[in-house]
Structures are given as C-alpha cells and as structure tokens.
Symmetry: C2
Subunit: 96 residues, 2 copies
DNA sequence: TTAATAGTTTTAAAACTATCGAACAACAAA
DNA sequence: TTTGTTGTTCGATAGTTTTAAAACTATTAA
C-alpha cells in the first residue's frame, strides 16, 4: 500500500477546503453547540438540507478528518474530531 | 449603496476558501516567516509561480481580507492582515 | 522617446464542486 | 413478510476554480 506523503500546507488545504462551504460550517457549528454527537437526520432536519446533499457534506467532512461517524442501528452519529481542530486550528471552535 | 449582510459562517466560508489552496497557503507561510511585507515578484520568485497565476492568488487573498497591498513605484508589497487572522483563526499563524 | 520591469486583466480550457431526484442497502417495526 | 426509516450512491446539471498565454497599464531608466 502506497501512502502519498503530504506537506503540512497540503494537509491544511484539504481541511480548509472542507471548511470553505457554508453548509458544512453550519454542520460544524451545530455539532459544537450541541456538545455531543448528533445523527445525520437530526442535523439535516435542523439545517434543512436535502438528505443526499447532507450525506455528501458529511462525507467531505469525514474524509478531511474533521468528524467521526458511528453507526447505531439505522442511525449514524456524527461527532467532531476535537483533537484535529485543536492541532490545525487552535482556538477556532471557541469562536463559533 | 447596498451592502449584502453576511452571516458569520458566510464570512468564514469566504476566508476558508481563500485558504483552501496550497499555493495561497505557501504565500501566507512565506509572508509570516519573513516577518515583513514582500513584493509580489519576490514571493512569486521564491515559490516559483507563473506571474499571472500569482496575481490571481494575490487578488483572492486580498478580496478575502487576509492581506493588504501597498504600491511603491512599480512594485506592490503584500502584508498579512494579522488582526483578521487573530479574530477568525486565533493561534493559526503560530502553527505555520 | 524608447526600452525594460512589475503587476493586472482577459480569455479559454480543464478540472472540480454543489445540488437534487432516483434507485439502492441496511435495519427496525408491524 | 411487508412497510417504513435512515442514510448512501449514481447520474445529470449548473456553476466555480485554477491555470497560463497574450495583451494590457503603470512606472522607471537610458
């Protein structure tokens, strides 16, 4: 298995790209203010996003390493990877 | 004159979009490490970017409010808007 | 005035992104 | 088993972003 080495700024660019969309920032804010994991549907309802669009945004955030998803029955719960935020963007979450 | 009201997350999205490109992050890092304003050409040379591409990236950063440009003779000097970084991304520059 | 230098703008191609409906898979409940 | 719920994937579409050559503007030097 080949792992593509990434420069620090490449890693940052991927993270900033994930954060460069208002819908995804709304997801992040909602999760942070809720102080605990939320299901995809709960977030989608609250922000009034089409479910396939929401799924696309969840995937984008997950692939950037900003969130983690846990399946419970027919639900999927999304939570913030606080360690990643604190490493790459220290103090950012507290500005939300 | 009509000023379009922007939500906090809209403002953040614009800033993150400007930071979501490796070339622009390299410009930011270079400026921060240099500890003082640099001319467009100086930055372009150091990062080996085509001058029209560089000009496009400078404009993107400027329009996001992340940099300021000052014209001196035939040169233009670019500097970081530290206050904007400190407000929107406190602590970020020190991770570079 | 002429030539050189520093940046910007225009334009067009290629690549990428966001959105949504429709079809799908996984699970739960009746 | 059938029905409903939750979320993902696919395909189409519309719009955006990045890049670089070419033409341009502004300034300085010869």
């Amino acid at each position: 298995m080949i792992i593509k080495q990434q420069t620090p700024n490449e890693v940052r660019a991927i993270i900033f790209k994930a954060l460069s969309d208002e819908a995804r920032l709304n997801i992040i804010s909602t999760l942070y203010q809720h102080q605990q994991e939320m299901s995809c549907g709960e977030i989608g309802d609250q922000l009034d996003i089409n479910k396939s669009t929401a799924s696309y945004h969840f995937k984008t955030l997950r692939e950037a390493g900003l969130t983690t998803t846990r399946k419970v029955g027919q639900n999927k719960f999304v939570s913030l990877n606080l360690d990643v935020f604190n490493t790459v963007l220290p103090g950012f979450l507290d500005t939300l």
